[in-house]
C-alpha cells in the first residue's frame, strides 16, 4: 500500500442532548441522560415513551389527577451534591397505603454522565440523598429484624407495598404508573437502608438524611424549602449530643464532685473551740435573762463557724436566741434556733417530728476572741431541759454539692426525656412502635 493508510474515519460524535417530539401530542421531549434513558415521559400528555425506539413508541398513557404536586426541583435543574454536578432528569410519586390512608413521597432522579445516577426522596419536607448499594446487605431475622451493611446494623422500620402513581422525565429503567414493589426500610439515623423487590429483582439502596436547606443551596432554589412535618424514620435526633454522652458526662462530673467533697472534708480542720452544757429546771419563769459564755478563740484564717445545739427535748420545744460576739471588735452575728421534738403512736404506727439537734453555720468569721450570748425561751410548763452547745470552726459544707448535683441532673433529665419522646415519634410510624408503659 503505497498510498499509506487511509485517513481515520470520523470519531463518534459527542453525545448530545436530544430534542424530540411526543408522538401523541407533539410536545417537545428532551433526553438529558443521552443513551442511558430507557423510558421517557411526556410532561404534557403523560405518555410513557420507549426512549430506545427512534419513533418513541408509546408504552403507556396515564391520567394525572388535578391535585398532583409538581416537582419542588424542576426537571433540568442542575446542582452540586457532594462535589459532583447533577441534573434532575426524572420525578415520580410513589405511595403506600395503610389503614385506608395514602402516604405519598416523591423521588427525584439525578444524573451525571460520568458518575451515573443518584436519587433524592422527599416526604413531608424530609429529604434523603440516596445511592444504590454496591455491597450486599445481610438481613438478620428476629423479633425486630435487622440488616447489616458495611459492618453496621440497621433496625427494621417498615415493610410496605409501594406503587408508582405519577412519573415525568426520563429513567434508565422501564417505568410504569401502577407498578408495585415491596419496600423494606431499615434505619440507623441519619442513614436509611432500603430494599426494593419487584419482578424477581432485588435492589438495595442507602440514603442519608439531608436537611432541606442543603438541597435548596445545592440546587440554588428560590424561596424557602417546605418545613418538615413530624419526625422522619432516619432523621437524626436534634440534640447535638447523644443521651449516652450526656449521662457519661454527668457520671464523670458526679465522681469529680464526690472527690471534691472528700477532699473538702479532708482539709477542713473541724476544730472544736467551745463546748458547754446547760440546764433549764422546770418552773423557771419564761424569758429568763440571757447569759454569756466564756470567751473562746478562733484561730487561723477566716472560716465558717458551726454552732451545734443538742437537747433532750421530748414533746416539747426550746427556742434559743444566739449572738456570736467578737470581743475584739464588738461585731455580733444574731440568730435564733428552735429545737423541738415530738413523737407518739397512732393508727399508722409510731411517728416523730422534729429533731433534738440543731446545727447552724455562720460563714466567714475572722479569727479573734469571741463569746456567745444565749437567751433561751421555753414553754411556761416545761419539763427539765438540758442542752449542750458545741462550737467548731472550719467545717465542711456539703449543701452546695447537693445543689450542684441537682443542677447537673436537670439537663440530663431534659435530654433523656427529649430523646425518648423523639424516638417514640420516630418509631410510631414504623412496624415496631414503642409501646407506652403501663404506668403512663
Amino acid at each position: 500500500m503505497s498510498a499509506g493508510t487511509p485517513p481515520l474515519p470520523n470519531p463518534p460524535a459527542k453525545p448530545q442532548v436530544k430534542a424530540l417530539h411526543c408522538p401523541q401530542c407533539g410536545a417537545s421531549i428532551t433526553l438529558r441522560s443521552f443513551q442511558q434513558a430507557v423510558t421517557v415521559v411526556c410532561e404534557s400528555c403523560h405518555c410513557i415513551l420507549d426512549a430506545k425506539d427512534p419513533t418513541l413508541k408509546i408504552l403507556q398513557q396515564f391520567q394525572a389527577t388535578t391535585g398532583e404536586l409538581p416537582p419542588l426541583i424542576p426537571l433540568g435543574t442542575r446542582g452540586k451534591l457532594r462535589g459532583t454536578d447533577y441534573e434532575v432528569i426524572g420525578f415520580q410519586r410513589r405511595s403506600i397505603e395503610s389503614d385506608g390512608v395514602r402516604y405519598d413521597w416523591h423521588e427525584y432522579l439525578l444524573f451525571n454522565p460520568y458518575k451515573g445516577f443518584r436519587y433524592l426522596s422527599e416526604y413531608q419536607g424530609h429529604w434523603n440523598d440516596i445511592t444504590v448499594c454496591k455491597d450486599l446487605p445481610v438481613v438478620r431475622t428476629g423479633l425486630v429484624p435487622s440488616a447489616n451493611y458495611l459492618g453496621e446494623s440497621y433496625r427494621h422500620f417498615q415493610t410496605a407495598d409501594a406503587s408508582t402513581g405519577y412519573v415525568i422525565g426520563e429513567f434508565p429503567w422501564q417505568v410504569r404508573v401502577g407498578e408495585r414493589a415491596a419496600v423494606t426500610d431499615y434505619v440507623r439515623p441519619p442513614r436509611l437502608l432500603s430494599c426494593e423487590q419487584s419482578s424477581g429483582e432485588t435492589t438495595w439502596s442507602v440514603g442519608e438524611y439531608t436537611y432541606p436547606q442543603e438541597i435548596w443551596k445545592a440546587f440554588n432554589l428560590p424561596g424557602k424549602p417546605p418545613e418538615p412535618i413530624g419526625v422522619f424514620e432516619n432523621q437524626p435526633a436534634p440534640a447535638t449530643v447523644s443521651v449516652k454522652q450526656v449521662w457519661a458526662a454527668f457520671l464523670a462530673l458526679t465522681i469529680f464532685l464526690l472527690g471534691l467533697m472528700a477532699f473538702n472534708d479532708m482539709v477542713a480542720s473541724k476544730e472544736p473551740v467551745f463546748t458547754s452544757a446547760y440546764q433549764l429546771n422546770p418552773g423557771t419563769p419564761k424569758g429568763e435573762a440571757s447569759f454569756v459564755t466564756d470567751v473562746f478563740e478562733l484561730k487561723g484564717r477566716t472560716s465558717n463557724v458551726e454552732i451545734k445545739t443538742s437537747t433532750n427535748v421530748s414533746n416539747s420545744w426550746i427556742y434559743l436566741n444566739y449572738a456570736l460576739i467578737s470581743q475584739d471588735t464588738g461585731r455580733a452575728w444574731d440568730f435564733g434556733r428552735e429545737v423541738s421534738y415530738y413523737s407518739g403512736y397512732d393508727s399508722d404506727g409510731s411517728w416523730s417530728e422534729g429533731s433534738r439537734h440543731d446545727t447552724v453555720i455562720v460563714p466567714s468569721v475572722p479569727p479573734g476572741h469571741y463569746y456567745l450570748r444565749i437567751e433561751p425561751e421555753v414553754d411556761a410548763r416545761h419539763p427539765l431541759i438540758s442542752y449542750t452547745v458545741v462550737v467548731r470552726r472550719d467545717v465542711p459544707v456539703f449543701r452546695f454539692y447537693g445543689y450542684a448535683l441537682v443542677g447537673l441532673f436537670l439537663p440530663v433529665l431534659y435530654v433523656t426525656f427529649k430523646s425518648i419522646s423523639f424516638e417514640r415519634a420516630r418509631w410510631s410510624e414504623s412496624d415496631h412502635p414503642i409501646l407506652q408503659s403501663e404506668s403512663d
Binding site: V132, D135, L136, Q174, G200
Partner: protein, 211 residues
Amino acid sequence: MTQPVSNCPNCGAKIVFQWSSSVQTVCTYCKSILVRTDVDLKKVGQVADLPPDSSPIQLNTEGIYHDKAFVVAGRILYQYEQGGWNEWHIVRNDGASAWLSDAQDEYAISFAIPGQTLPAALRVQVGQQYTWNNQTYTVTVITEAHYKGVEGELPFQYWDKTDVTFVDLRSPTGKFATLDYSDEQPALYLGEFVEFDDLKLKNLRQFEGWS
C-alpha cells in the same frame, strides 16, 4: 513490548495490536472482525454499526487500578430490557488482562477465573449462594442479554453471538461475581465494584453541556 503489526486482509489498513496476547481485533476502517492465526489475520465477520451508547469510557481510555496503570483495548456491548452495558477489555502495563464493566455508570473490575466447577445455567436461581476463593456470593439477578457488537482487541474470539445469559452475584463485602453462559463452557469472573473517581480515568469521552 514490541507491538505486532499487520495489515487488514479486507482493506489493507495497518492493524496494530496494543496487547500481544490479543486474539481478536476489529479493523478501525472497514469494521472487519479479524482473528489472529499462527501466520496472519483472518477475517471472520463484520461488525454492524454499534448502537449509540453514552458510556464515558472509550478505546484508549487510561486509568489506574490497585496502583497499576491500564488502558482500554476493546469492548463487548450488550443490551437487555433495562438498557445496555459495556464490558471493556482493559490491559495492564504488566500484560495482565481484565474487564471493566460499565452498566449505567456503575463500574466494576473483574478477572477471569478459570478452572472452577460452575453450575449449569438452568440450575441457577436468584438467592442461591456459591463460594469461590473462600468468598460466598449470592445470586442477585439473572439477565438475558443480547450481544450487540464488539470493538477493539479481545483476549478470545467473540463475534457470532446472539442471546447470552449472565448471572450476577454479590457479596456483603463489595465483591461481585459473574457467570457468563455465552459459551458451552460457562466462564466465571470475580471482581469488585469501583468508584469512578478512584480509577483516575483519562482520555474520557466528552458530553455536550458537561465539562
